[in-house]
């Protein structure tokens, strides 16, 4: 067997069997899902018992229609969700006194909270909701939308308009973005969908590079510390060693990403919408993904292999993450102006090419010229970066002690 493959197999199997990897494999998506879904689930949790809401209505006209409208919300057992209790209703109530009374009720937990409708509620459209916990968004939303409806219906009625007619006229509006492609066909695209597919693409690239990059640096540090590296480079060439590590750890990264992607598919399948662009675009994006990954890996090797301690590794990691975060920070502006001159120019920078292309392709396919040149530039830069990384790796794996300066690294690259 080719020795690079022996190294690759070793790196892959040893890491894949490790507890840390298995934990990461399951814990990371759990944390992600937990952070994304749990708060939503908790916030959307249905109430379990009827909530009593106090009403201070100085207009004297809103309590009745509001409590009628709030009756339509039901608990799962069929009981009403809300019970509106008048605290003080009438034209002449003293809002301040009524509020004090309601406050004590809230303190005694007689009522969940109370709503103050001022005498001029019709005119200033200002209402207040007071409670111990001001975070029940659903209740506030419901109160707000129902009050709005009552108020606007009243206002229309004052102008002599039939509320039914108004409702008919107020048809809901949904803005769709339509992409006009070259051939003149119209395709519907969803901004959110493009945005999320680009984000998923970037996060996958990000995780892949970070995972395999960190593992690479860590394995180099271990082999340097215990001098195993001497045995390794007397058994195979440093190129074979590097190739093997890149291969094995990339496979590991892809295993992780693949597993997460499966979880992702499984959990989004029920929504019926695929986050992914059409196959032809996907293939093109894949080309940029693989090239981009290799390019970043080479940078990781070049900067990571001279490292001798964990602390240094973390420092280097920080810099590398910055390289990765930059394109992510540019996601929104690029999506808003996919055809802007600055976007087109920056696309040619190899460090940004994969991201920019991933953002531009689903919105509008770049010209053949752009695709061919960017792929060529990326291919060449990856090739040269790999050679440079190999030269640095060759010397760096045997070096211990002080981290070399940029100048020294450069000398390692240019010397034959």
């Amino acid at each position: 067997m080719n020795k690079a493959l022996v190294v690759a197999k070793w790196e892959y199997l040893e890491k894949v069997k490790s507890k840390a990897f298995l934990i990461g494999l399951f814990i990371t998506p759990m944390i992600m899902v937990g952070m994304g879904v749990l708060p939503g689930l908790l916030a959307n949790k249905e109430d379990e018992s009827t909530k009593t809401i106090g009403v201070v209505d100085a207009s004297g006209e809103l309590f009745e229609p509001l409590s009628k409208r709030m009756e339509k919300y039901r608990l799962s057992n069929g009981n009403p969700n809300y019970l509106l209790q008048p605290v003080a209703v009438g034209r002449n109530v003293d809002v301040a006194t009524a509020a004090t009374e309601a406050d004590t009720k809230v303190q005694r937990d007689d009522i969940e909270g109370y709503i103050i409708l001022g005498a001029n509620a019709f005119k200033d459209s200002i209402v207040e909701y007071r409670s111990k916990a001001a975070g029940d968004f659903r209740l506030i939303n419901r109160l707000e939308s129902n009050l709005k409806n009552i108020l606007s219906e009243r206002k229309f009625a004052e102008k002599g308009l039939d509320p039914k007619l108004v409702n008919e006229l107020r048809a809901p509006l949904d803005v769709k973005t339509v992409r006009v492609s070259k051939s003149g066909e119209k395709e519907e695209t969803d901004f959110l969908r493009t945005f999320f597919s680009a984000y998923i693409y970037l996060m996958m690239l990000f995780f892949l590079i970070i995972t395999s990059g960190q593992l690479l640096v860590r394995s180099v540090i271990e082999e340097k510390a215990n001098r195993i590296v001497e045995v390794l480079v007397s058994s195979c060439t440093s190129t074979e060693l590097m190739a093997g590590k890149v291969l094995g750890l990339s496979a590991l990264g892809f295993t992780q990403i693949g597993f997460w992607a499966l979880i992702g598919f499984a959990s989004t399948a029920k929504f019926g919408t695929s986050f992914f662009p059409p196959t032809s675009q996907l293939l093109l994006m894949l080309v940029y993904f693989v090239l981009g990954y290799l390019f970043y890996s080479a940078i990781f090797i070049a900067l990571g292999s001279p490292v001798t301690t964990e602390q240094e590794a973390q420092q280097i990691n920080g810099y590398l993450i910055m390289f990765l975060v930059l394109p992510i920070a540019l996601v929104l502006p690029v999506m808003q102006h996919p055809n802007a001159a600055w976007v087109k120019i920056l696309t040619f920078i190899p460090l940004l090419t994969p991201t920019f292309m991933a953002l531009r392709i689903p919105i509008q396919i770049p010209t053949i010229f752009e695709i061919v040149t960017t792929v060529l530039i990326l291919l060449l830069s990856t090739y040269f970066m790999m050679i440079a990384a190999g030269r640095i790796f060759r010397i760096a794996i045997l070096a211990t002690g002080k981290r070399p300066s940029i100048g020294e690294l450069w000398r390692w690259v240019v010397q034959p």
Partner: protein, 308 residues
Amino acid sequence: MTKQSHNFMLKVANLRKDFATIRAVDGVSFEVQRGQIFGLIGRNGAGKTTTIRMVLNILQPDIGEITYDGKKFTGEIRNIVGYLPEERGLYKKSKLLDTILYFAQLRGMDAAKATSEAERWLKRSELISYKDKKVEELSKGNQQKVQFITSIIHDPQLVVLDEPFAGLDPVNQILFKDILLEMKQRNKAIIFSTHQMDQAEKLSDDICLINHGRVVLNGSVRDVKKRYGNNSVHLEYEGDGSFLRSLSGVKNAMMYENSAELQLSDGFNVQQLLPQIISKLELRKFELREPSLQSIFIQTVGEKDAEA
């Protein structure tokens, strides 16, 4: 001359290696035959390890040539050399058998052969019951045995061992020595480096003493000793032997606990020495023979240098 030129497994000629401002190795030449244990001796930092690294193609010499059976280094040489580095280390979290198989396959062995060989060596080293344990669960000595196995499992033609006995207990030292002697019987070339002269003396056929990057002594142990003549007195005694150093006719003295090696001045008759000693010490041994490698080493590199 008993050596036949075609029998040289390794020829090293005029090696030089500089690191920044330091010349680590300066014109080192030596030859190692098959069926020979070759001791590379010298103080710490003398240039032994750098020389070894060049022999193993880990480092490239600035000047000089290394040939293996008359041929230059090629990728195939990697599969017929074995190496035990001075600093000991293995993958801590990996299993014993897996680790050995990895290194064996890196030396070009196929998996099946590597597995059967690994099991044979593990049995011989009494480690077979640990084969699925992680390396970190083993004692230091056992880890060293594992590393030793990884350096010889592929039955290399040339084995290079950097300070193989450092930190080994006596039982394992004997195990290592037995294995090395067997390999010698089977016509392999073995290089080992050490700064412990008694070991070099007991085990090597030929030695090469390196000091400050240069070869200062080279040849078979017997020849080297002959060169230094037959005028060393080896003593074992009870009592305070500190006066031995200042006796007339003693050029050099190496004192140990209850034993000493005295090197006599040229032309001094040993018969004159005995009466001076016998009255002051209870002698258990008085022997005139060639000097030990230790004393030659000290004479050659200088007392001050040797102790450093």
